[in-house]
Amino acid sequence: MADLAIAHPERQAAAESPAQLRQDRLLSVGARCALPVALLLGIGFLAPLVAILGYAFATPRSFDVFSSFTLANFATLFDPANTVWLSFFWSCGLALFTVAILAVVAYPIAYGLNMVFGRWSALISVLFVFPLFVSENVRLYGWVLFYIRNGVLDGSLKWLGLPGGPEVLYTPGITLFGMVYTYLPFMLFPMTLGLALVPRDLVDAARDLGAGRLFIWREIELPLAMPGILIGMLLTFVLAIGATAEAKILGGQSIIVISHDIEIAFTYSQNWPLGSALAVVVTFFIGALTLFALSKLDLDRMLGKR
C-alpha cells in the first residue's frame, strides 16, 4: 500500500477534492465548537499561570513582568538562610497526616454507605455534602467558637461544674483537625465509589471458599477498592498541601504554611516576583508528585480490565 502511494503521488493529489482542501485550511467542526471553551480556558486558566511564571523571573520587589529576567527570586528561596522550607515542611507534613487520618476515618463510613446503611445511605451522603454549601471560613470560625475559652465546649463544661475544656485552639494539632474536617468529603466520596466497584459476588465467593472477614478484606475488598481510595488520597493531598484557612483561623498562625507564605509575599510584603517564584516551585512539586502517582496508578490493571 505504501509503495503504491509513493509510486503515484500525482494520483493521490488528484483525488483530493476542492471541498477537502477547504476543510484542511479551516478548523474542523469539533475544533470550531471547542473554540469558545478554549478561549475561556486560555484567558481564565492559562493566562494567570503564564503571568505567575513571568513574575517568577522578574526583578525582585518590582512589577517588571516580561521585561526583566533574573533567577534572583529562586536564589532567595533556596538560600539556606531563608526559612521558607519550614513552611513547606509544615504543609507537606500536615497534608500527609491529613491523608493518613482521612483514609482511616473515611473507610468505615464508605463501607457503611455501601453495605450497611441501605436506604439511609443517600440521606447520610447528603449530610456529608451539606457543610460544603457553607463557606469554609464560616465553618472554621464555628469551630473557633466551639473550642475558644468560655466557648461552647469550655463554657458548657464549666457550667456543669467541671474544670473546663482543654486549651486546643491555636496549636498545630487543631490545624490538623480542621484539615481532616474540611477534606473529609473529598476522601469519602471517591472511596465510596471505589468500594461500590467491589462486586458482592466476589465477596460471597471468597467466603464460600473458606475465607474469613479479615482475609476477604485484605485479599479482595481492599485491592479492588484501591483505585477509589488512591484517587481520594491524591485529591485530599493536593487540596491539603494548598490549605491556608485552617492554619490561619484555627491554628492562629502558630504555624505558617506554604500557601500562607505565598499570600504574605503578594500582600503584606508586596514582593510579587518572590511570591510567584514560590508558587511556581510549589506547583511544580505538586504537579510532579501527582503525575508520578498517576503513572504508578494503573486504574485499568487494578480493575482487571486489561
Partner: protein, 369 residues
Amino acid sequence: MLLTSPAALPDPASPPKPILQLVGLRKSFGGFDAVQGIDLDVREGEFLTIVGPSGSGKTTLLRMLAGMDTPSEGNITLHGELINDVPPNRRPTCLVFQSLALFPHKSVGENIAFPLKVKGVDAAARKARALELMRVVRLPESYFDKNVMKCSGGERQRVALARALAYDPEVLFFDEPLSAIDYKLKKTLEKELKDLHRETGKTFIYITHSLEEAMVMSDRIGVMRAGRLVQVGTPEEIYGAPVDRFVCEFVGEVNTFQVKRGPDGAWNGTDVPGTFTLQPPASGAVLDEAFVVVRPEFMRILAPGESADNRLEGVVYNEYSLGSRIQYQVRVGAKVMLVELSRGRALPSSADRRVTLGWDAADAFTLES
C-alpha cells in the same frame, strides 16, 4: 472391633446414603415464599440437577444449601448434622457462581490457589496443586500467570471449576454456570463436567433452566416450579413418566390435546376430532376429562394400510430440519401437531400433503387436565 462390624461395611443392595437432607425447607422474603417446603435426600456422589423456569426458587434453594441465605423454616443436614446456621466459609461445600465470580485482580493460578491460601498452604505447594487442578480441568500450564480477565468464556469456566475443586468440598453447587456460553462449547463443557464428576466422585448439585442440559449430565433431576419440587427422578423417569403437564411441557416440545369421556365410556377428542384409545393415568385417578400428551418422536406418519392405536388426519404445513431428524408441523383443524422422523424416513415432498398421523396408546401419557 467396631470398624470391621458388618454394619460399617457398605451394603451394595441399599442405595447410597444421603449426604445432604432437606426437610420442609422454606424461605420467605417479606410476604413472598420463594421456596415453599422442599423435602429431598441427596445421595453421596450423585449428580443431581434442579431444573425449573426463572423465578421457580432454584437459586434461593441453592443459596440456602451453600449457606448464603438462612432457611425461614425446615432443616438442612449434612452427614446427619444440622447446618442451617453454619456460615459458608465453614461448610464443606462450594458454589460455582453464575457470574463465576473470578477475582479480576488475580492471575489464573492465584484464583485457583485462593482456597489453599486461605488454608495457609505454602506458596510452592499451592502452585503444585493449582497446576495439578489445571490439568484436571484441561487448562494449559502456561495459563498459570495469565490475567484471568484475558481468558475466554470457556477458560474462565474451567478456572472457576478448578478453584472450587481446590477447596476440596464434599458437595459442589453450580448456579447455571453455562448459561452465558455458546451452544457448541456448552455441549463440550457439559460432557467434561460429567466426566469430571466421575473422576472426582464428589456430589454435584447443579441448577439450570435448561432440561436439555440436565438430561445430558444428571443422575437424577428435580423439576421445580413456584418454589416446590414437582418431580424428582432419573432422566428416564422425568422423560418417560412426567407427573403432570408442567413437567411434560418442560421436558420439550410435545403434542397435547383434550379428551372427554363420552356416554359410552369412550374418550372423545374435545379440540381434535376422533375417538382415542388411552392408557389410564399413572396417578390411577378415575377421570371424566383428561389431557393427552404425545411426544413428536412417537408420532408416525402412517403409510396406507399401516395400523396404529390412534390416528388423526391433517395437512403438512411446514418442515424443520433438526440435523439427523426432520420435524413436520401438521395442522389438524386449528390444532398444530409436531412429528419427528429420522432423515431416512423423510417425506419426498411435504408442503400441503394430506397425511394420517398415528401413535400407539403405550407411547402417550394421560394426565389430569
